[in-house]
């Protein structure tokens, strides 16, 4: 079992308590207008637009979906043929409609149809050119890693870290991977935090994640359903149900709201969230000011809130009952 890893930050001070390794998985089922890393939203469709222009030669075409140096995924040898490889067919969030759209797009736009775009991390010079070229909100710099491989990669970060935080994209699109990773980390004495948009059903927890996690960091991107749809393209019933159930079971480490003036009623959202937090003084509420860096060009017209406005919101959250409030 593998998941597409976009990036690993060995030491992070901003993804949970203490020093943690932060792992970013590729792919998201929300479409937040203010997304700061839109290149993590979708999976590469192997159109190949980025290959030719890669200055370090880190991107290359292959007839196989696997790097030649590595074995096929354990237990997945049968999928070795390019046609049935997991990359295009098995994304849990990819509906039929989208998949068709993508294959059409490949026929139409890709002169390299049928070949795979692979990535050699050691040759990458980090210029981000491929991400700028990509017209699909994706990144070709993905490694499909198993939990064991990820753990091996983390081994040099120990003993400096107390845990791992998996973020995204939306990491809960890969629940089975997360469960296996969490179990491995636990056996190594490392804790796992998830950074989630709340679309996975933590109240039912079909994958059995919660007992293995030290906590979840959850975004509440808007309180009213129609506003949440405007911000993210989907409703928020799941998010709010998760918020309540994570609070009840003591697994909410941090709640977050991004403040974007003009996009939604953030003050109302902050008030509702802060009220819910009143009985849970240990849960942090992080109120984050919208910033333009990384945001897609068509959404860059939003303004950042002023410092005074952020201080006002901090006070509002406190007056409504949240105890550990910080602004960023």
């Amino acid at each position: 079992m593998r998941a597409p890893v976009n990036r690993i930050i060995p030491f992070s001070a901003v993804d949970g308590p203490g020093n943690r390794t932060a792992v970013f998985l590729q792919g998201c089922n929300f479409n937040c207008k203010y997304c700061h890393n839109p290149e993590t939203r979708k999976l590469c469709i192997h159109c190949g637009d980025c290959v030719e222009d890669c200055p370090g030669g880190a991107l290359y075409f292959s007839d196989s979906p696997f790097p030649s140096a590595s074995r096929p995924f354990p237990g997945e040898e049968k999928q070795e043929s390019a046609r049935t490889a997991p990359a295009l067919s098995s994304y849990p969030f990819w509906g039929e409609e989208k998949r068709e759209g993508i294959s059409e797009e490949r026929e139409r736009e890709s002169p390299h149809s049928g070949r795979w775009v692979l990535f050699s991390p050691e040759k990458c010079i980090g210029c981000d050119r491929c991400i700028r070229i990509c017209r699909h909100d994706a990144s070709p710099r993905i490694r499909w890693m198993s939990p064991e491989e990820l753990l091996r990669e983390l081994s040099k970060n120990r003993p400096f870290i107390r845990g791992v935080t998996v973020s995204g994209g939306e990491c809960t699109l890969y629940p089975a991977f997360l469960r296996e990773l969490a179990a491995l980390l636990l056996s190594e004495g490392l804790e796992l935090l998830l950074d989630s948009n709340g679309s996975y059903d933590f109240s039912e927890d079909p994958a059995g994640l919660l007992p293995l996690l030290s906590g979840v960091m959850l975004d509440v991107k808007a309180w009213k359903r129609e506003e949440h749809e405007r911000v993210t393209g989907t409703g928020n019933e799941d998010v709010l149900r998760n918020l309540r159930s994570l609070l009840q079971c003591g697994k909410l480490y941090e709640l977050r709201t991004v403040v974007v003036p003009g996009l939604f009623d953030y003050e109302g959202c902050i008030r509702e969230c802060a009220r819910l937090l009143r009985p849970y003084p240990e849960v942090r509420y992080k109120i984050i000011a919208f910033r333009k860096n990384g945001v897609r060009a068509e959404y860059r017209d939003f303004e950042s809130p002023t410092e005074e406005e952020m201080s006002r919101l901090l006070e509002i959250a406190k007056s409504e009952g949240a105890v550990k409030v910080l602004t960023l």
Binding site: P10, F11, A13, V14, P17, G18, N19, K156, N157, R158, P159, F160, I161, R162, L326
Partner: protein, 518 residues
């Protein structure tokens, strides 16, 4: 007794001109002028039996100099670093100073402030001010906390304004005490450069809450630094201290001298790696060791210091508790130069395993030399010197401190830098250390630094310093200076600490403001 050699009138005249320049200097304070006059006078003395061949290596411009004695002068009248047993002083008082044992915190602080003015060193100020938490705890523990805090805060302000050199060091830890917590509170609030501070940390003795207080203080005021207590204890015994920059030394003793090999310049003399390891390096090491032997002989046998100074007469220091520091700088440059001579120009220290392995080979060679060399007056360290990764001086250009990776070439990931450091810190019982500027966001998550310290000490790192990248007081190489005071000095104003001038030089020559922020 040795006979003094003659010198030329030309040298006398040159020195007299320097002296007059010192007298008239617009930027030096009175204390700085007095110190400069003394060292100019000392430079006229010729009493040491200098080994043949030394002068070529010692009295050379910085591009070719291979041995440096760090301004110790021509006729050392005291050991370079003196580490008094302050515990004994507070218990027994001093007859020379006409002080009895203090009875409360007022008297204890007053006694220490007096004592500091009588502790000589190469800087003319005390390089060590004591294990301050342990010294003060007996007086603090029964006192009103706020009253104790006000006294301790005033004590720290007194030190900063009267010890006019930041190569001065206090220790706290490893156990948490009330005094220790008040000290951390005071240094976080006063944000001064003096004294430098170290927390001795041992995971089995230091509470997390105490470590966290120390990390918070460090983010405010660039101190304390963190010393691997278990490691130092295993090498120097339980009665050790951290003094000056980060020097591990025996308490109630110190170090006679510190000379340093400038490894990059020694590498320039060599034809290649083997020639360096088997010929040039051993040749220079032998001369440095014999020069140090001679300096020690003069201090012990001729200067009269141990016979006459009250610190020795009253037992605050003992001659047998002194050792000497065999220093080095520029390992990174030596490795890069040697690899270039071998036709491997692309390989750089900090970025290639071959380069790091060569660094380890060089260190093994130096360590083996030191183990084979004996000095009769270094009983406390088994008859050997202690290796020291010297932090550099302000006039160094293109010379990295000790075994540090050159500023600007630090690995992108901190984890890779720490991994590399873990291969070098163990060589240096008398001190090495690395410095990490930290992003402002970490103020919200100081546990981030706690985790790094704990992991680093498990990996046998010895000594780490952190400061907030936006802090006014910052660590230059091993000592603290205020950025605002460097600015004052750059504009031609006077500043109270003589180390500010060194910081200004290091900023210009050593690029210390350009370290990678973590």
């Amino acid at each position: 007794m040795g006979k003094m050699r003659e010198i030329t009138m030309e040298r006398v005249e040159k020195t007299r001109e320097e002296m007059l320049k010192t007298v008239k200097s617009p930027v030096l304070t009175h204390e700085q002028k007095v110190a400069a006059m003394a060292s100019l006078a000392d430079s006229l003395l010729e009493v040491l039996n200098i080994p043949e061949g030394l002068s070529e290596l010692l009295d050379a411009p910085i591009e070719t100099q291979c041995i440096c004695d760090l301004f110790e002068g021509h006729a050392p009248m005291r050991p370079r670093y003196i580490i008094p047993d302050y515990g004994r002083f507070l218990k027994e008082g001093s007859s020379f100073l006409e002080l009895g044992a203090p009875g409360d915190l007022y008297e204890a602080i007053n006694a220490l402030e007096i004592f500091y003015k009588h502790v000589p060193s190469v800087t003319n100020y005390p390089v060590y001010v004591g294990a301050l938490d342990r010294l003060l705890e007996p007086f603090v523990s029964s006192m009103d906390e706020e009253e104790a805090y006000r006294l301790i805060r005033a004590f720290f302000i007194h030190m900063d304004r009267t010890i006019l050199d930041s190569f001065s060091h206090g220790n706290i830890g490893p156990e948490r005490t009330k005094a220790g917590s008040l000290i951390l509170r005071a240094i976080a609030e006063t944000k001064d450069a003096v004294p430098n501070m170290t927390m001795k940390y041992d995971a089995s003795l230091t509470e997390d809450a105490f470590l966290l207080e120390a990390v918070r203080a460090a983010l405010e005021s660039a101190k304390p630094s963190f010393a691997n207590d278990a490691m130092f204890r295993s090498e120097l015994g339980p009665e050790y201290v951290i003094a000056s920059c980060y020097n591990g030394l025996p308490e109630g003793g110190g170090s006679y001298t510190l000379c340093r090999l400038i490894l990059g310049n020694i590498a320039k003399r060599a034809k290649g790696i083997e020639d360096f390891l088997s010929r040039e390096l051993p040749y220079v090491m032998d001369l440095q060791a014999r020069y140090m032997d001679e300096r020690i002989r003069f201090i012990v046998e001729e200067s009269g210091f141990f016979e006459n100074n009250f610190l020795a007469k009253e037992g605050f220091i003992r001659r047998e508790r002194f050792t000497a520091m065999f220093g080095l700088v520029g390992l990174a440059e030596a490795v890069n130069i040697l690899l270039e001579k071998e036709g491997k120009k692309g390989l750089r220290f900090g970025h290639s395993e071959e380069a790091v392995s060569l660094g380890v080979r060089i260190m093994d060679t130096i360590s083996a030399f030191n183990e084979a060399h004996r000095n009769p007056y270094c009983e406390v360290s088994g008859g050997h010197f202690l290796l020291h990764a010297q932090v550099g001086i302000s006039s160094d250009i293109g010379i990295s401190p000790g075994t540090r990776i050159p500023i600007g070439e630090e690995p992108e990931e901190l984890v890779d830098q720490l991994e590399l450091l873990s291969r070098f810190h163990h060589y240096f019982p008398s001190g090495t250390g690395d410095i990490f500027p930290i992003e402002r966001t970490v103020h919200r998550n100081p546990e981030y630094i706690m985790d790094i310290i704990k992991g680093a000490f498990q990996k046998k790192l010895r000594y780490l310093s952190f400061y907030s990248s936006d802090s006014d007081v910052i660590r230059i190489t091993g000592y603290l200076v205020k950025r605002s005071e460097i600015k004052t000095l750059e504009k031609g104003g006077n500043v109270k600490h003589d180390t500010t001038a060194l910081g200004m030089g290091a900023k210009q020559n050593g690029h210390i403001l350009e370290r990678r922020v973590r």
